[in-house]
Amino acid sequence: MHISPVLWQFLVKWLNASALFPREASTIAPYMDALYFFLLAMTVVGMALVGALILGFSIRYRKARNPVATQVEGSTLLEATWTIIPLALFLVCFVWGALLYFRIYNPPTNAMNIYIVGKQWMWKAEHPGGQHEINALHVPIGRPVQLTMISQDVFHSYSIPDFRVKREVIPGRYTTVWFQATDVGTYHLFCTQYCGTAHSAMIGEITAMTPDDYDKWTRDSTSGMSLAQNGERLFASMGCNACHSGNAAARGPSLAGVYGSKLQLNDGSQVQVTDAYLRDAILNPSQHITAGYAPIMPTYQGQISEDGLIDLVEYIKNMQTNYRVQQTLTTAQSNQAAPVTPEMVKP
């Protein structure tokens, strides 16, 4: 048979360019793949067993060879066997899967944080240093990166198959996922939750870089204002500092150092102040009244975009003293260096 060399070349290239197994590009990937191969082996063995039994019985007990069937009621012993063995195997899968799940969804405390805002149909990444990216994300290798994500409209899902991570991006609440890239390269980013017309165009590229390259990228692509600086400006322009001034007579609680602390609310409950709590407290203040304060804060629902909320959260997270707040009360100028905390605040 003769095949045209052009067609042949095309076929060879086409087959070579096709993928059968995703790259392992994060610290999670080998763990995920280990479980995958275990499950795969279980399926193949189970399938082979059932297939062999069916085939074997079909040959041995076909009518031509075994014209009269022997009636059997059943066998408690056999049935117990195929109840207990699958159950045991499935429980192994359960424990293994659960360990993996906790590993993927519990970020290490030293992870650097990047905010992701999903909207129809694009991904916006906001780095604390003020770098903004659309449908792209630059991350260093060898460093845990946590993504704090929120959707501005419908459900989306942030998936990086080569890192084996994925998490739903939901309107109205922060979700997080973390990973540590191991190999320099570019990887697919997909939105995996159906989100309307251009769902399949809500894709992007993850670029994993060496720490040096990453630092260089960070320096070169900053917008000039960090998220916290944006947040400070917003804080002043919305008049937050009128109440949250940190003065003894202030009508709102002081926000300096509030992030990560345990807060006593006036309904008696105690909460840990996290990103999600800060966001909620801005949008629905009446449900989050700090003990000792009057419920006078108006809701900001619909008045601040998700990006703005991220800026505010980032500002409050990094606010260690009320010095700047009081400064902005009079000057309202904020294009100077923001009060950045050198070490990570442990939640």
Binding site: A19, F90, E168, H188, A201
Partner: protein, 556 residues
């Protein structure tokens, strides 16, 4: 085919005649069908209507696979593509899979199998068919008016705030279809409880009845939740009541909980009746009672019970608490066990049997193979960490098609072939139908096995375009879909042919033991001339042999 390789026993075709009077020719005229209370006629009405919807849904699947032949979005626009997979899902789930076996084969056989004249509420049964047709027409109307692109899952807030397609019309259609299935389930439960013939104890019932009983419980208890969920979606969409809207204090995750509280049990509504068919077929063609009758019967009930407590495994990546994820993962592992029990019990039914390989048996073997893969890949998804990589990708698509198409559709076809002689009085052409069974099996594997691989690679479901490196696997899948399409077209053609030209089947061509095989084919309108008295267990082939012997002696 030599005599020793088949159990098929047809009457002498030179002298055989169809019975003079049976349910098909009992009354004439269109109205006698449209106003009938006869469960057998309603079953046939259902069979025709679900076949129509199956091929509409199948056509959408064909278009989807054709679009995915190339990575570029080049055949249809994105909006059209989204409408295609939405309509494919809605039609296949609500208008084909849910009613497939219960409303057709179940409707036809449950009363006969328990020895009753009809279902408990014949008029409600007819109403259920009318509701089904109204639902179908409503959904088709939405389609003709311009379609809907929510996905079959109606995910909020996309469906409530962001789409201006015909969401409401479709939701009304699905709402009505839900009541059609509630009525079917209600009828089965009452019939099985109250109308069993004398001597037909619970543990003498065929396993087909047990499976339908379990599925009926799910229909009656689960479907109302779907109805109320759709009402909430409609209220949210029209009046903005804010149950699912976070800016009004609602919770978008709540929708997921409510929707999957129905839609997970719904997969058992779809698969359990199919499992009932497989029990009958495997037993008949191995001439042997089902291995461990009680275990198979109770595993159906166990699936139905556990099925209600695993819904949140659809939401592992949606930010449910880690601990509830743990509980739901554990329960998911437990619900897999009864299915494993069934598979092994069926397999060991073959042991020491006297096996023949007619078409229904081939489909049943296909079911067992594909359902095993479908079930075990379900364990992948139930394992929490693994689910993160696999959910919302083509792995999920492959998994549920293995269970729903590889499992349920195979079982449906097994059942249709198995009871075709009983329903119509005529045989289908054997070698052609064997060819169809094998074609379906090969086509199915070629379509859906590559999707597991492309799923682990990360290709998201519902994608109109995809990266070029996934093309080879998608081309394989599309090629398989073509073969599969041929496999599904064949039965329609030869079954229609057999209505007029098929060999006359006689009462009991398979020499099966069920009550339905002891009456004429096609049956009389009241099923039995006199109420049968059941004095033997299900699948008692020795009883059947004695009975046949007696008849021969009496006549001879």
């Amino acid at each position: 085919m030599s005599e020793s390789n088949t159990i098929l026993k047809l009457p002498d075709q030179r002298t055989a005649t169809m019975p003079k009077r049976h349910y098909i020719n009992n009354e004439d005229g269109l109205l006698s069908w449209l106003l009938t209370g006869d469960h057998k006629r309603i079953a046939m009405l259902y069979l025709m209507s679900i076949t129509v919807f199956f091929f509409i849904g199948g056509a959408f699947a064909g278009l989807i696979r054709l679009e995915l032949l190339t990575p570029q979005p080049d055949l249809v626009s994105s909006d059209t593509y989204n409408k295609l997979f939405t309509m494919h899902g809605i039609i296949m789930v609500f208008l084909f899979l849910v009613p497939s076996v219960p409303a057709t084969i179940g409707n036809f056989l449950i009363p006969i199998m328990v020895g009753a004249k009809d279902l408990a509420f014949p008029k409600i049964n007819l109403l259920s068919w009318y509701l089904y047709v109204i639902a179908g027409i409503t959904i088709l109307t939405a389609l003709v008016l311009g379609g809907v692109d929510t996905g079959w899952t109606f995910t909020t807030p996309l469906s409530t705030h962001y789409l201006n397609t015909h969401v409401l019309t479709t939701a009304v259609g699905v709402f009505i279809a839900g009541f059609s299935s509630i009525f079917t389930g209600l009828n089965f439960i009452v019939t099985i409880h109250r109308m069993r013939a004398p001597g037909m104890t619970w543990f003498r019932m065929p396993l087909f009845c047990w499976a339908h009983y379990a599925a009926s419980i799910l229909m009656v208890l689960g479907t109302p939740v779907l109805a109320i969920t759709l009402v909430l979606v409609a209220l949210e969409r029209v009046f903005g009541i804010g149950v699912f809207d976070p800016t009004k204090g609602g919770d978008p995750i709540l929708f997921q909980h409510l929707f999957w509280f129905y839609s997970h049990p719904a997969v058992y509504i779809m698969i359990l009746p199919g499992m009932g068919v497989i029990s009958e077929v495997i037993s008949t063609f191995s001439r042997k009672r089902v291995f461990g009758y009680t275990a198979v019967a109770f595993s159906s009930v166990a699936i139905a019970l556990f099925g209600f407590f695993v819904w949140a495994h659809h939401m592992f990546i949606m930010g449910v608490s880690n601990y509830s994820a743990l509980v739901f993962s554990l329960l998911t592992m437990l619900v897999a066990v009864p299915s494993a029990i069934k598979i092994f019990n069926w397999t060991f039914t073959l042991q020491k049997g006297s096996i023949t390989f007619e078409t229904p048996m081939l489909y049943a073997f296909g079911f067992m193979g594909l359902f095993t893969i479908g079930g075990l890949t379900g364990v992948f998804l139930g394992a929490l960490g693994m689910d993160i990589q696999l959910t919302e990708t083509y792995f999920i698509v492959a998994h549920f098609h293995f269970v729903m198409v590889g499992g349920m559709l195979m079982a449906f076809l097994a059942g249709v072939h198995f009871w075709w002689p009983k329903m119509t009085g005529r045989m289908y052409p054997e070698s052609l139908s064997k060819l169809a069974a094998v074609t379906t099996f090969i086509g199915f594997n070629l379509t859906f096995l590559p999707q597991f691989i492309v799923g682990y690679l990360g290709m998201p479901r519902r994608y109109h375009s995809y990266p070029a490196e996934y093309q080879v696997l998608n081309v394989l899948s599309t090629a398989g879909a073509t073969v599969l399409g041929v496999g599904y077209m064949l039965p329609v053609l030869y079954l229609a042919w057999s209505l007029k030209y098929g060999a006359i089947a006689g009462n009991n061509p398979w020499q099966a033991t069920g009550l339905e095989w002891q009456i004429q084919s096609p049956p009389l309108t009241p099923n039995f001339i006199e109420t049968p008295i059941v004095d033997y267990e299900a699948y008692d082939y020795e009883w059947l042999a004695r009975k046949t012997e007696q008849e021969v002696t009496t006549v001879g």
